[in-house]
């Protein structure tokens, strides 16, 4: 039994111990980042096409894991939702009509000209603490696929995107990763919207219609 107020750990020491404990716990766990961004609608001429869009589960639930040098999970970056948000924002500005498809099979009865399905092939992240540069960088590699409603080939092309944000004194790593990912997605959107009709197979298909 101890008398109240005696043999107690001083308040300052307890605060320091609490802080150290929190830091230790934070150092051990993986940081979950859910990428959040807003994407403006592009100012481009709409193509007179009715397009069905299909997002597969891999894109919808896309998660990238960055590991430490010791092979432990360091950052788990979920970007599926923001990918969908991006395409849902840009496609209606590019085409006269956009139909969201639950499955590729639903295309035949949707009254559309083609089915567009994007997929992520690669997601790369470079952190300032590893590269010794003052920037967070994200590279994305996409595979874009355009097929006829019955699954016939129209076009299949690779699109890469890059985004970076500078390291700021009061900016957290999470905010830096989020900023670089959103910048990469904007880069993707700008190249996709401005370059869509320049893809040789897409151009040939448009001419043949």
């Amino acid at each position: 039994m101890s008398e109240l107020g005696k043999n107690r750990v001083p308040l300052q020491t307890r605060q320091v111990l609490l802080l150290l404990g929190s830091l230790l716990l934070a150092a051990c766990g993986v940081n979950n980042i859910s990428v959040v961004g807003s994407y403006p609608q592009p100012n481009v001429n709409k193509l007179p096409l009715s397009i069905g869009v299909f997002y597969d589960d891999e894109l919808r639930n896309h998660t990238y894991v960055e590991y430490t040098d010791m092979g432990q999970e360091e950052y788990r970056i979920s970007s599926g939702e923001t990918h969908i948000e991006l395409f849902n924002s840009i496609l209606p500005s590019m085409f006269e009509r956009v139909v969201l498809l639950e499955s590729p099979e639903a295309a035949t009865s949707a009254g559309i000209d083609a089915v567009f399905s994007p997929s992520i092939e690669e997601f790369q992240l470079a952190l300032p603490q590893k590269t010794q540069l003052d920037v967070f960088e994200v590279w994305l590699k996409y595979n874009m696929r355009l097929v006829t409603p019955d699954g016939g080939y129209i076009a299949d092309w690779v699109l890469t995107a890059y985004g970076k944000t500078t390291k700021e004194t009061l900016r957290s790593t999470e905010a830096g990763i989020n900023g670089a990912t959103v910048a990469a997605l904007r880069d993707l959107a700008s190249n996709f919207t401005l370059g869509f009709t320049s893809i040789p197979d897409v151009r040939d298909w448009l001419v043949s219609r």
């Binding site: 994407y39 100012n43 001429n45 880069d187 700008s190 190249n191 401005l194």
Partner: protein, 229 residues
């Protein structure tokens, strides 16, 4: 070319003035700013017209900080001879995808192709943009010397030592006239300053406000340039 030395202003201080400026002196070390202007065309702006300042972000090793662009914009849009400045992010979003890092026009000649796009021309007209000002540059820190060590114990804590570093800001502003679709001039601002951090129990920062001085000097010169003075 115009050179502004912050220290020179302080040397004229006497008596009470110097006493009043002491806290400022503690926080601000010496800075020298040099402004260069190269005019290639006539300028002028009406009250209904506006300017947009955009940071160049094509470089692989650096990018013009949005905070610097905002700082110049805020300075230009304040004061008696203020100019309407469209915020950078608002403009870039409204013009999407034409002013993204990889799609933005690099040369003034590219503006002709860009303005041929109906949506682009309409948006620029909607905002009343007369000049597009491209800001390009960065602030680099070099010559870091000294060290400060801090200790903390049951009886308290404190720091002892001395640190010093040099900041160099190099920024360039290219002014494109949207009416004539040409580059009408270039203004460059170079600022440098030495910062000191002596620490006797507590660190005392004597920070050279290099980027802030580059910002205010560049904004003042840009205002004069745009008005055609």
């Amino acid at each position: 070319m115009k050179t502004i030395g912050l220290c020179a202003e302080f040397k004229s201080c006497q008596g009470k003035r110097l006493f009043c400026l002491l806290p400022v002196l503690i926080l601000a070390a010496c800075t020298t700013t040099t402004i260069d202007e190269f005019r290639q065309g006539e300028t002028g702006i009406e009250s209904h017209e506006s300017v947009v300042l955009l940071g160049r972000r094509q470089g692989s090793t650096y990018e013009t900080r949005a905070e610097f662009v905002e700082c110049v914009g805020n300075r230009m849009s304040s004061g008696a001879d203020s100019i309407r400045v469209v915020p950078e992010q608002e403009f870039v979003d409204a013009m999407f995808p034409w002013f993204e890092p990889r799609t933005a026009p690099v040369h003034s000649e590219d503006m002709q192709t860009l303005m041929a796009q109906q949506q682009v021309a309409e948006k620029i007209s909607e905002y009343g943009i007369r000049y597009i000002v491209w800001l390009d540059g960065q602030t680099e820190t070099s010559n870091r010397i000294g060290s400060i060590s801090c200790t903390i114990g049951p009886g308290g804590g404190g720091c002892f030592g001395f640190g010093s570093w040099e900041d160099d800001s190099n920024f360039e502003a290219r002014v494109w006239d949207v009416n004539s679709l040409v580059n009408v001039g270039t203004i460059s601002a170079d600022a440098s300053g030495q910062s000191y951090m002596p620490a006797i129990v507590i660190p005392i920062p004597l920070i050279a406000r290099v980027e802030a001085n580059a910002c205010s000097s560049l904004a003042s010169q840009l205002k004069q340039f745009v008005y055609g003075n």
